[in-house]
């Protein structure tokens, strides 16, 4: 019971308080939906929402593809497999802020190693401003996020692969299946539940991920990498517009709940179809 009270205070209080903030003004008077209107009006809000969608789907698409591919490769028997498996985990283990700062320097136009290597090898004539060119900055952020989290997907999928009964592979061998047929008809169907569960986690993480982008660009240049969570943070702690920030947070919470709901629902129908 005391634990429940503490839990209530830690969860219910902030949620309720955000709700109250979103419908009041600085003088703590009730203002209805005014904050919602105020925060939706600037075009930056729409821009941030689009950026968020790109960021989430871009990240997850590549995280899952690279993660599954890495898992299948690491499931092979080869010398030094344990070492490679451990090395593959490094990006996931590195603290987000450390990774972000390191990547920021690697991508830097003048001092960055990426431009240095590409120009040195003759791939590029002129250094590219990765973080300061409109159409490379968000992909660069996504690439960092993919690098950071695909090992997590890999490890989860690897566990899934190892739980596949050996008889399935033996039966396939008897039927004369090639390696790629094994991948397509045994491995991928068998790890599907793992992948769906992991994807849900990735969606939630990507929607809340603020570290990488905030540490590198803070949403800039010209809001090209501004995602909604960063906008919420900015409104509250840079513009001191707590009430509008709360209104945006409430709406974002709604959208996230909707996505999660749809996802779980489709997951449930899927598994009931199977049985």
């Amino acid at each position: 019971m005391p634990a429940l009270i503490v839990l209530m205070m830690l969860i219910a209080y902030p949620v309720t308080y955000t709700g109250i903030l979103s419908v009041t003004n600085q003088q703590e008077e009730f203002v209805g939906l005014q904050n919602f209107r105020d925060v939706l009006r600037p075009r930056v809000t729409t821009q941030a929402l689009w950026n968020t969608l790109w960021w989430v789907f871009g990240s997850i698409f590549f995280q899952v593809i690279f993660g599954v591919a890495a898992a299948i490769l690491l499931n092979q028997k080869f010398r030094g497999r344990a070492v490679v498996r451990s090395i593959a985990l490094i990006p996931w283990v590195v603290p987000g802020i450390v990774a972000a700062t390191t990547w920021a320097w690697m991508f830097h136009t003048e001092f960055g190693i990426i431009n240095y290597m590409l120009t040195g090898a003759g791939v590029l004539e002129e250094p590219i401003g990765w973080l300061i060119t409109g159409n490379t900055v968000l992909p660069a952020m996504i690439a960092i996020n993919v690098w950071k989290l695909f090992p997590f997907v890999a490890i989860m999928v690897l566990a899934g692969l190892q739980s596949i009964p050996q008889e399935l592979f033996e039966a396939a061998k008897v039927d004369g299946a090639s390696y790629w047929e094994e991948v397509r008809h045994i491995m991928l169907p068998q790890i599907r539940p793992v992948v769906t569960a992991v994807t849900l986690l990735l969606v939630i993480w990507a929607l809340n991920a603020i570290t990488i982008i905030y540490a590198i660009t803070s949403g800039g240049p010209a809001n090209k990498t501004l995602i909604t969570p960063i906008q919420i943070f900015r409104l509250a702690f840079e513009s001191s517009a707590f009430n509008q920030s709360a209104a945006l947070a409430v709406m974002f919470f709604g959208i996230v709940m909707l996505i999660v709901f749809i996802y779980i629902k489709s997951l449930a129908t899927e598994s009931s179809e199977k049985s």
């Binding site: 830097h108 973080l131 409109g134």
Partner: protein, 417 residues
């Protein structure tokens, strides 16, 4: 230093309302540890002036045996929050040092005492700063330290480019021509900021707008005017340094600190900054031949800069305000201001002291009368964010200067309602 600058743009009131509420009880219990005796003045002094502050306190106590000065050293990180929490909780010291830009909010919140009866020789003080700390025709602080940006340049680069380092540019045209001449051999002629904390870019670009007769808001703050011809021309001037290739390629990633690094590395020949950058540069690269100049203005017009710095306030909750006022008068004699400030003193007579005679400081001193302050508006941070986004759109090549500022103007106007 950059943190310090940026925070002068930030109204802290509402953010503190939250943390204030939560932290109030904790703070009260903490503050009660400080026992206050009659005749004791508790002084919150920042750590960078600690030694000098101790010396001043000792001197004062010798001359005034009945009053004890108790120093509590503060750090700049998180100071606005700490000050506001102390003011709100009612458990405040007797004397505090705060940035000029914070004072108005304290006055409006009725947290500090008016000091019209304490200031001496008011006419001797920098007028721009007095304006910032005035509210309802009363003075709510006494300023002691003021500073603005100037331009720091590499004299050897000037010589190599065939320019006379002793005759730096005075007008926009001359600055542009110099930047062009200096840009060679992998060097950038004139650095502007377009990234990092937005305060960096506001501090560097808004003065150009002011010089040219433009502004972000009109005088009575009812209309956004950043897309006026005068404003647009100034922003074009600023962003052209990058567009024409005279500023580093990394401009959109650069804040003031990045510019200083490029300058120290010899990759940049000139950039705007405060005088505090000069010792920092010489410490990292003592061989650099550093020169300083005023920020060039359009031909026939006056230069401008944003003025920053520090003031003393006496909280309303001070236990011994009479003694604090007496000590304040002691601190603000021309001599003691000149001794205590890190940059320039707020009093004209104090700036005549020999320590400000260094020729490298002269252009910064000459900038001071041209120092201006940002308007006091509750949505100022949001407005500058729209303005900063607009500058980044120009630098990215997304929009023309006029189009980008039209959009920024509309965004800012929407906040004025």
């Amino acid at each position: 230093m950059y943190k310090v600058h940026r925070s002068s743009f930030r109204p802290v009131s509402s953010s503190l309302k939250l943390t204030g509420k939560l932290g109030l009880s904790v703070l009260m219990s903490l503050a009660s540890i400080t026992f206050v005796h009659a005749g004791e003045v508790v002084w919150w002094a920042p750590n960078w002036g600690e030694k000098r502050a101790e010396e001043l306190a000792k001197k004062f106590m010798v001359a005034n045996p009945g009053i004890k000065i108790k120093m509590e050293v503060t750090v700049s990180n998180g100071l606005p929050a700490r000050v506001l929490t102390a003011l709100r909780s009612g458990n405040a010291p007797d004397l505090m040092e705060v940035q000029h830009g914070w004072v108005n909010e304290y006055a409006q919140g009725d947290f500090v005492l008016p000091l019209d009866d304490t200031i001496q020789e008011k006419a001797d003080y920098n007028k721009g700063v007095l304006q910032v700390i005035t509210w309802k025709e009363k003075l709510w602080a006494i300023p002691y330290r003021i500073e603005t940006h100037g331009v720091i340049y590499n004299k050897d680069h000037f010589r190599e480019a065939g320019l006379d380092p002793e005759k730096p540019p005075k007008t926009w045209d001359e600055l542009q021509a110099a930047a062009k001449a200096l840009t060679k051999a992998g060097r950038s002629g004139f650095g502007i900021t377009g990234g990092g904390e937005m305060g960096n870019t506001i501090f560097r670009s808004l003065p150009f707008v002011w010089m040219n007769g433009g502004d972000l808001l009109n005088a009575d703050m009812t209309k956004a005017v950043i897309n006026s011809p005068a404003s647009v021309k100034a922003i074009e001037f600023y962003t052209n340094f990058y567009k024409q290739g005279y500023a580093p390629k990394s401009t959109l990633e650069n804040d003031g600190l990045a510019l200083r690094r490029l300058f120290v590395a010899g990759a940049l020949s000139a950039y705007q900054s405060g005088q505090f950058d000069v010792p920092a540069i010489l410490k990292e690269n003592p061989k650099l031949n550093v020169g300083t100049m005023m920020i060039p203005a359009p031909a026939g017009k006056q230069t401008a800069a944003i003025i920053g710095g520090w003031s003393y306030v006496i909280p309303k909750a001070a236990k011994n305000p009479t003694e604090a006022k007496k000590f304040l008068q002691f601190l603000n004699t021309a001599e003691n201001q000149a001794f205590y400030t890190d940059t320039f003193p707020a009093r004209a007579s104090a700036s005549k002291f020999p320590r400000f005679n260094d020729p490298i400081l002269k252009p910064f001193a000459e900038m001071l009368p041209h120092g201006r302050t940002a308007p006091i508006h509750p949505d100022w941070v949001k407005m500058t964010q729209f303005y900063f986004d607009g500058i980044q759109r120009i630098l990215l090549g997304d929009q023309t200067v006029q189009k980008s500022m039209d959009q920024a103007n509309a965004d800012i106007q929407a906040l004025l309602k």
